[in-house]
């Protein structure tokens, strides 16, 4: 049988009226905004904080992702921030006192061509030098980890091997958000839903507050954690971001008995699949090509990822599609995030996580909270500043991002 979900807590958070002023306002009540609020309170003792959410808490990408958590990125800068994030995932269920079903079932990133094999082996070696658990598996070893994968050579792009990160896994995304929200609320943070930011109040080049659908609120500092809508907010505040917003779709099947023991991602045939605790097969693929804010995309993208999934997992051929949906992902030119100060004083931005924001939730929150508290980046997010788009010090993770942008 698939796992039963843990009991729901009987209290999560208050729903306070906004105060007239806060030390810090965080715009965006998704995973990253909530984690930023939590770490501001926990790591820096800053609790006069509001998280403003235009809809309901964690109803954007936090409710729409495929919950994959891993840290096997190529470059040193990425390995540092994603591995720090993974280390937090490992302690957060206890720290937040909330069993959000973090399951370290490992991730396989498949290689289907000789070039894939070379890139994958290189990434494994780079990971190990950075203290990230990674090993290269040949096709037979892949079959041992995940018996339902078709590793025969009768498919168009046979599996030639895979990188394997055993500490990777999945978690129950809604519960992650609720866990952060409950703890942040307990530490004194005001979580304010149904509160859309419509403008910024500035004194010269310094932000001093925000205009919202529930009135003007003064703020010592303001942080943007709005994922797909980051460009809209930045324009409102008076600066630009190197971001393009795209639809990213995912889907689930009906519930099935547990058949899929790990997470499988394939860059080349382009699908990623895991099986949720309740039993749904959860799949995703690449973004829709065009810019979009519509939280939906084309069905041909779903068809292509299902074709890839059925080729790799013939056992899925008769599984029925239950539901598809889309989110809006904020994509940067180098497939790495922006966690940075901005050209506006006391205004900070966390965005550009593209298709990989869920796994980065604790890392983004941790480094963003540090950046806000000290008006200086943490060593882990210093390389992810906006300046890299003029210095040229890009952190190109198109390979490890494992999703076409």
């Amino acid at each position: 049988m698939a796992d039963l979900l843990p009991e729901h807590p009987d209290f999560l958070w208050r729903n306070p009226e906004p105060k007239s002023s806060y030390d810090v306002i965080i715009i965006g009540g998704g995973g990253h905004g909530l984690a930023t609020a939590y770490y501001l309170a926990k790591n820096h003792g800053i609790t006069n904080v509001a998280v403003l959410e235009r809809g309901w808490l964690a109803g954007g990408n936090m409710a729409r992702n495929t919950t994959i958590i891993r840290s096997n990125y190529l470059w040193d800068e990425s390995a540092a921030i994603y591995e720090h994030s993974l280390k937090q995932w490992e302690v957060l269920p206890e720290e937040l006192d909330y069993d959000f079903l973090f399951s370290q079932r490992g991730v396989l990133n498949l290689a289907h061509t000789l070039q894939d094999v070379r890139d994958s082996v290189r990434r494994c070696e780079a990971n190990r030098l950075n203290g990230v658990d990674a090993e290269w598996l040949d096709a037979d070893q892949v079959k041992e980890v995940c018996p339902i994968i078709n590793t025969s050579d009768n498919i168009r792009y046979p599996v030639m091997g895979a990188t394997y990160q055993p500490r990777a896994g999945i978690a129950k995304h809604d519960h992650v958000a609720w866990a952060f929200a409950r703890k942040a609320d307990e530490l004194g943070v005001d979580l304010i839903q149904d509160c859309e930011v419509t403008g910024f109040v500035k004194d010269g080049n310094r932000v001093v507050g925000v205009q919202t659908s529930r009135g003007t609120i003064a703020a010592g500092k303001v942080a943007l954690c709005a994922a797909g809508h980051s460009s809209v907010l930045a324009e409102m505040a008076g600066f630009d971001l190197p971001i393009q917003s795209h639809p990213l779709q995912a889907l689930v099947s009906e519930l099935h008995q547990p058949v899929h023991p790990t997470v499988v991602m394939s860059n080349h045939v382009h699908v990623y699949v895991s099986q949720a605790h309740k039993g749904e097969l959860v799949m995703g693929a690449g973004v829709d090509a065009y810019n979009g804010y519509g939280q939906r995309g084309g069905f041909h993208v779903i068809e292509e990822q299902m074709a890839a999934a059925v080729e790799l997992f013939p056992i899925f051929a008769r599984a029925h599609l239950l539901r598809t949906w889309g989110g809006i992902v904020d994509v940067t030119p180098d497939a790495s995030p922006v966690v940075s100060k901005t050209p506006i004083d006391q205004l900070y931005v966390n965005c550009g996580w593209g298709t990989g924001g869920f796994k980065g939730t604790p890392g983004a929150g941790w480094t963003m909270a540090h950046t806000i508290a000290h008006d200086e980046p943490h060593e882990y997010n210093a390389p992810f500043a906006l300046e890299r788009f003029s210095t040229g010090a890009l952190i190109d993770e198109h390979g490890a991002a494992a999703v076409a942008h």
Binding site: P242, Y290, N291, G294, H300, F389, T391
Partner: protein
């Protein structure tokens, strides 16, 4: 799947096309005169409009020509199609 009216081939499925991002981005007249910031802006910064957006598409599986489209990035509805080199059309109702 959106339907796109290629100026030469007519209405075809989106899968016949490839996307080219923001339209009307000229190559700098004198790239050597740009500061690092200006060059970075040319390379990496594009408008990310929520609403009517002027963008490029190429009919890869047809005539292989590039052209421009005005499309709403929220509804995905196409408001106008025009050829490369033509100015951005003004839409009825005053919105650009």
């Amino acid at each position: 799947m959106i339907l796109i009216s290629c100026p030469d081939c007519g209405s075809r499925d989106e899968t016949e096309f490839h996307y080219g991002g923001q339209a009307h981005v000229p190559y700098p007249e004198d790239p050597n005169a740009l500061t690092d910031e200006e060059w970075g802006r040319y390379l990496f910064y594009r408008e990310n409009t929520k609403g009517i957006f002027a963008e490029r598409w190429v009919h890869s599986s047809g005539c292989r020509k590039w052209f421009n489209v005005l499309r709403d990035t929220v509804t995905y509805r196409i408001a106008a199609v025009y050829r490369t080199g033509e100015p951005r059309p003004t839409l009825d109702g005053g919105s650009q």
